[in-house]
Amino acid sequence: MGKTLLQKVWDAHTVRRLPTGQTQLFIGLHLIHEVTSPQAFDMIRARGWRVAFPNRTFATVDHIVPTANRARPFLDTMAEAMMSSLERNVAEYGIPLYNIGSEHQGIVHVIGPELGLTQPGMTIACGDSHTSTHGAFGAVAFGIGTTQVRDVLASQCLALEPLKVRRIDVTGRLAPGVYAKDVILEIIRRLGVKGGAGYAYEYAGSVVEGMSMDERLTICNMSVEGAARVGYVNPDETTFQYLEGRSFAPQGGDFDKAKQYWRSLASDGNAVYDDRVVIDGDALEPTVTWGINPGQSVGVSGKLPDPRDLPADDRAGVEEALQFMAFQGGGPIAGTKIDVAFIGSCTNSRLSDLREAARVVRGHHIAAHVKGLVVPGSEGVRRAAEREGLHEIFRDAGFEWRGAGCSMCLAMNPDRLEGRQVCASSSNRNFKGRQGSPTGRTLLMSPAMVAAAAVAGEVVDVRRHLSQEVTA
């Protein structure tokens, strides 16, 4: 009987079975940032522990960093205190830090892949739920809490229970204007925001196999929004081509040997899955969320649910969402007026995301009432985009072009919604209050859809822009 990638990686990293029945799993790569690590360092210091594997630990700053004025000390004194705390901790324990001003600073889930730190067959942990992103390389990557950050710092291990595996095949081909973001929003809508509890999601099928690494990262990133703590794609030639030549990837002859090893980790053809789901990629259209969790979405040509049509158990949730959003059940999502357009976040802030958005805004200007913000995922992405002139396209269209960070995805820095503003956002969460205003409203969509909404001033079908581009 064949094995899944998850089983192979799990077995290769199992230290022992703990008296609690859990597995002690070795963590090959620990990524840390300024928000969830300070308390963990205090805990190990209080107990006199050391950092077990400082050379398997890497730090950056992303959550709280300003994206406009990045001069130190930060104007926000608490943000500055968090920066100093991280700087002290990494200095004390000998951990590399990609700090503000470093050419590699950026969102932790963007720089890991970019630097070649993220590799197939690794176990990866980070105090951030979107660590599932790294699974795009065929790694098994967990988001963890601060006490677990302490565990990994002290022991390079986690105590975990095994996961089941659900194979999700996305078949067919995506139509132009339909992106990885639409695929994952559809998966979450179909399987539910709690459907993945207890599972790792293995993404496969012709659509996923044909995707670039950037696109696979988008899909794996939002696994956790469907309650799957881990999501992954089996490594293949696309993975290897991406990794070749990156700073931390094996070099020269080692790279060829590594490829052999990585290939052997992919799920076997006769692997047994705990569940299988097929999604018809041909049928997907650009998707937009209308509610207060990422499962509440609809195709751009579709209509919002009418609570009166729903079974009693589902009605309350939909009514609560419609009330918060001040949307009419049964109405269309297209035509919803927006106030802010945000292109960024660990979901959709990579070079190919910015290219697609720039394609849509080129030669246009965003609507007069819209504030537009483009926040590259890393300083590396920012430089690459600037080499192609994307920053000029965005600026000419009326967008602000910023430095790298998490920014308005969770509004821990100065970028946030105000009052009841509606934001077309390429990020991952539309929870109440997520973008910094307790009453602010978020519509999740692909970066190209955000760009189209910014130009129109309302939610529109990006395929309209793209078809004009062909005829122009």
């Binding site: 609690t20 002690q24 300070p38 077990a52 968090m82 590594a258 929870f431 209050g433």
Partner: protein
């Protein structure tokens, strides 16, 4: 290293109705801007509590220690600040229909048991507490039962978490460090650690 055993929690209940209550709602991100967990209890459900009717605002539920919730409680961000804030507010056990995995795991590591009971039993417990906020809820972590008044609800919890809480192994770094030679040996077996491909 040893932590105390969590065998049993008893106290008044606080009902928090609704599915998919995420960690951004339990503790909004702006309160994560700190280098310690101290004082988080002051901001638990900060935005939701702009509604005066929110249970955490109600005088009759102050001092309650058993939180009653519905499905997918604690979904979203992995921030441990969420269970930290609840625990510091005074919650010593959570009883609900379904818990998000990361929230559940974070809670176990803080010695905060989360017990799963049926939809109907949550409903009964919530109704009992709403009718009489003085109602005591007795959470038997060892026996996996939740009792209140005349009712007894059967509860479940993944075996490892149950074992960890009831044997006092929930604060588990000591376990992970107990045989560090084995950890080193495992690291030496991984090509990406050794560089020997």
């Amino acid at each position: 290293m040893s932590a105390s055993r969590i065998d049993h929690v008893s106290g008044r209940g606080i009902p928090l109705r609704g599915h998919d209550i995420d960690t951004d709602r339990i503790i909004p991100a702006r309160y994560l801007k700190a280098i310690s967990f101290e004082g988080l209890e002051n901001h638990v459900f900060a935005d939701d509590r702009s509604d005066p009717a929110h249970p955490f605002n109600q005088p009759q539920f102050q001092g309650a220690s058993v939180l009653l919730v519905n499905r997918n409680f604690g979904c979203g961000s992995s921030r441990e600040h969420a269970p930290q804030a609840l625990q510091r507010w005074g919650i010593n056990a959570v009883v609900g229909e379904v818990f998000s995995e990361i929230f559940f795991g974070n809670s176990v590591q803080l010695g905060l048991p989360c017990l799963t009971v049926s939809h109907d039993d949550v409903e009964r417990l919530m109704a009992a507490v709403e009718a009489d906020p003085a109602t005591v809820i007795d959470v038997d972590v060892v026996g996996l039962r939740v009792r209140s008044g005349g009712m007894t609800a059967a509860a479940t919890m993944p075996p490892a978490a149950h074992e960890a809480l009831t044997t006092g192994l929930w604060d588990g770094t000591g376990l992970l460090l107990a045989d560090f030679d084995q950890v080193r040996a495992l690291a030496e077996s991984l090509p990406y650690v050794t560089g020997r491909w």
